[in-house]
């Protein structure tokens, strides 16, 4: 089953990847091979196999509801490319009307 170029573009957008035409071609081939592999797996009868929720046989890892102060703000913002008024500054995300 070969992915269409539209499907590859959609996945690239969701992953925020900017692919060149050559990379897109390669991704289409590789992703299609992966999907083919899953098609093969689908032939197995899993009717009696419970879904794997987690790979560890552990449940209920919880902490008591106790708070402690956050990090100092200078530290929080020190690696931010830009900040203003104690907040992270990014290019505008909601377009103007």
């Amino acid at each position: 089953m070969r992915l269409t170029s539209e499907e590859v573009d959609h996945i690239a957008l969701l992953s925020r990847l900017d692919l060149s035409p050559a990379e897109r071609e390669r991704a289409a081939t590789e992703l299609s091979q992966i999907l083919d592999h899953f098609e093969q797996l689908k032939q197995l009868d899993t009717a009696d196999v419970p879904p794997t929720e987690h790979v560890l046989p552990v449940v209920n890892v919880l902490r008591a509801d106790e708070s402690r102060p956050g990090l100092p703000r200078e530290g929080v913002l020190q690696n931010a490319p830009e900040h203003a008024g104690g907040m992270f500054q990014v290019p505008r995300v909601v377009e103007a009307e």
Binding site: V61, L62, R63, G70, M87, V90, V93, E97
Partner: protein
């Protein structure tokens, strides 16, 4: 009547009343200086690991128990993937395949328009646990049209999302749903429900369909609703907009609209993030929850009496009217105040529940509401109100004087007894003393006496008024009636 049937569903996000966040120990506070309640976990730093807050699971369980939802005692968290600057990990931890609660319902009171209401059951799709995102401000509001600013204090605050079925058929039903849900969450003490702080957030989805049509019309989501009024107004505006489109033969486009309070219209949300393809998958950093019956029972035992049950009990066991029961159970604080005032008080004629109800509903809440205050802040404590009513019951003071005393109690918080003593307001129940006053009033009002003896019952009231005036309202009214009648028939 409109040509179209209105179909409304609601998505509600409630921030839970915990000390700390869902997956880290940062404080869960609605108001704090930007980016001060943050740590590597809620900032999404690589290598940090989330650990679930036990209290938040308890609060969520309390809620699904109240909704009578089917509880998935084994449930898992999943990642909902999307890119947005206020989501530092680029995924939100949420639940989809195995949410904590599935199904369930909320009973709402839909007003009939004549003061009465009808109970309607609104079904729920599911109730799931997740984490809140950060908060962003955009463009002009921050003085820079090209930037957005992000504060991550809200990132990771425990959130419960309650998704209804599209069961509501009018704006009034949507309002009744919000009122009932808010009341329930407040009773359960799972959220403080402060809409103005975004602690409780409503999103509506609305579609129209011609009457009789089976399938739903195209639904439009309405967001940016930070008050009950905004929900009401935006739904009305959106109904009008969709009606106009359908009337002119157009097609409603499936989209998200933002309510614009200033213009009173809904506007399409335009976001660079259009591709809504969340690619949920099980969160490998969190192991499943396995809630055993002991855990469930512990939570069940922590639940208060719910507003509907309380309302029913007030009517059936205390003999209150449905109006009174409605007022007294409208909030948990009022109900608890009422019950505390009533505690241990039995009236000779059995009307204690009614008497206390009158004082709470009329005198106390009247004054509290006039001050835009809350019953929790009232200076008069439940036991003090009970003492006042007991003084009336014992005949120490008259009902009329009691209201004056209550005024003083409400402003100063003093005890009724000390006010009565200080002002000498004790009711006069001394027969000899009152007889003398009655004689005096009869002698001073020959005309009224003559009219009364001539059959004018009304004149009797003037004579009672005379006695009350003489005693500055302190005379025991029942005794005055009796003594006057006796004196007049002699």
């Amino acid at each position: 009547m409109s040509k179209y049937e209105i179909v409304i569903g609601m998505e509600v996000h409630a921030e839970l009343l915990t000390q700390s966040k869902q997956f880290c120990a940062c404080p869960n506070e609605a108001v704090a200086p930007p980016n001060t309640n943050v740590c590597p976990v809620c900032l999404g730093f690589p290598g940090s690991l989330p650990v679930l807050n036990a209290k938040s699971v308890d609060l969520s369980l309390r809620t699904v128990l109240a909704f009578d939802s089917k509880i998935n005692t084994r449930c898992i968290f999943e990642r909902k993937n999307y890119f947005y600057p206020d989501l530092p990990k680029a995924y939100q931890v949420s639940q989809r395949l195995l949410p904590l609660g599935e199904g369930g319902f909320i009973d709402i009171d839909v007003p009939n328009g004549d003061g009465t209401s009808t109970v309607k059951r609104v079904g729920l799709h599911d109730v799931h646990m997740e984490e809140d995102t950060g908060k962003s401000q955009h463009g002009e509001s921050i003085g820079d049209p090209d930037s957005s600013l992000i504060d991550f204090n809200r990132s990771g605050i425990p959130l419960l999302e309650i998704v209804s079925l599209p069961d509501m058929r009018s704006v009034e039903e949507a309002e009744a749903y919000m009122t009932a849900l808010r009341q329930l969450l407040l009773y359960l003490e799972v959220s403080d429900c402060k809409m103005e702080l975004g602690r409780l957030r409503f999103e509506a989805s609305l579609s129209l369909r011609p009457w009789g049509q089976e399938e739903y019309g195209t639904r439009v989501e309405v967001k940016n609703l930070n008050s009950m009024k905004a929900v009401r107004d935006s739904l009305r505006a959106e109904i009008e907009r969709q009606t106009r489109i359908l009337d002119s033969g157009g097609v409603v486009v499936q989209q998200t609209m933002l309510w614009d309070e200033a213009s009173g219209t809904t506007q399409p949300m335009r976001s660079k993030e259009q591709a809504h393809d969340y690619r949920y998958f099980p969160e490998p950093d969190l192991v499943p929850l396995d809630i055993d019956s002991a855990w469930l029972e512990r939570v069940r035992a922590s639940m208060p009496e719910l507003p509907r049950a309380k309302n029913q009990r007030f009517i059936e066991q205390l003999g209150l009217s449905s109006y009174e029961a409605g007022v007294l159970t409208s909030s948990r604080e009022i109900a608890e105040y009422y019950e505390a005032a009533l505690e241990g008080y039995t009236k000779s004629d059995g009307g204690a529940a009614k008497a206390i109800s009158n004082w709470v509903c009329n005198e106390l809440l009247g004054r509290v509401n006039a001050q835009n205050s809350s019953i929790a802040e009232a200076k008069v404590l439940p036991a003090q109100l009970r003492e006042l009513v007991q003084l009336i019951d014992a005949g120490t003071i008259s009902g009329k004087i009691a209201k004056e005393i209550f005024d003083e109690m409400f402003t100063s918080g003093r005890d009724a007894k000390s006010i009565v003593e200080e002002r000498g307001l004790t009711q006069m129940s001394d027969t000899t003393e009152l007889e003398a006053i009655c004689e005096k009033v009869i002698a001073a009002n020959p005309k009224a006496v003559e009219d009364y003896r001539g059959g004018k019952e009304k004149s009797f009231g003037a004579l009672v008024g005379g006695v009350m005036k003489e005693t500055k309202g302190r005379a025991n009214p029942a005794l005055v009636n009796e003594l006057l009648k006796k004196a007049l028939t002699q």
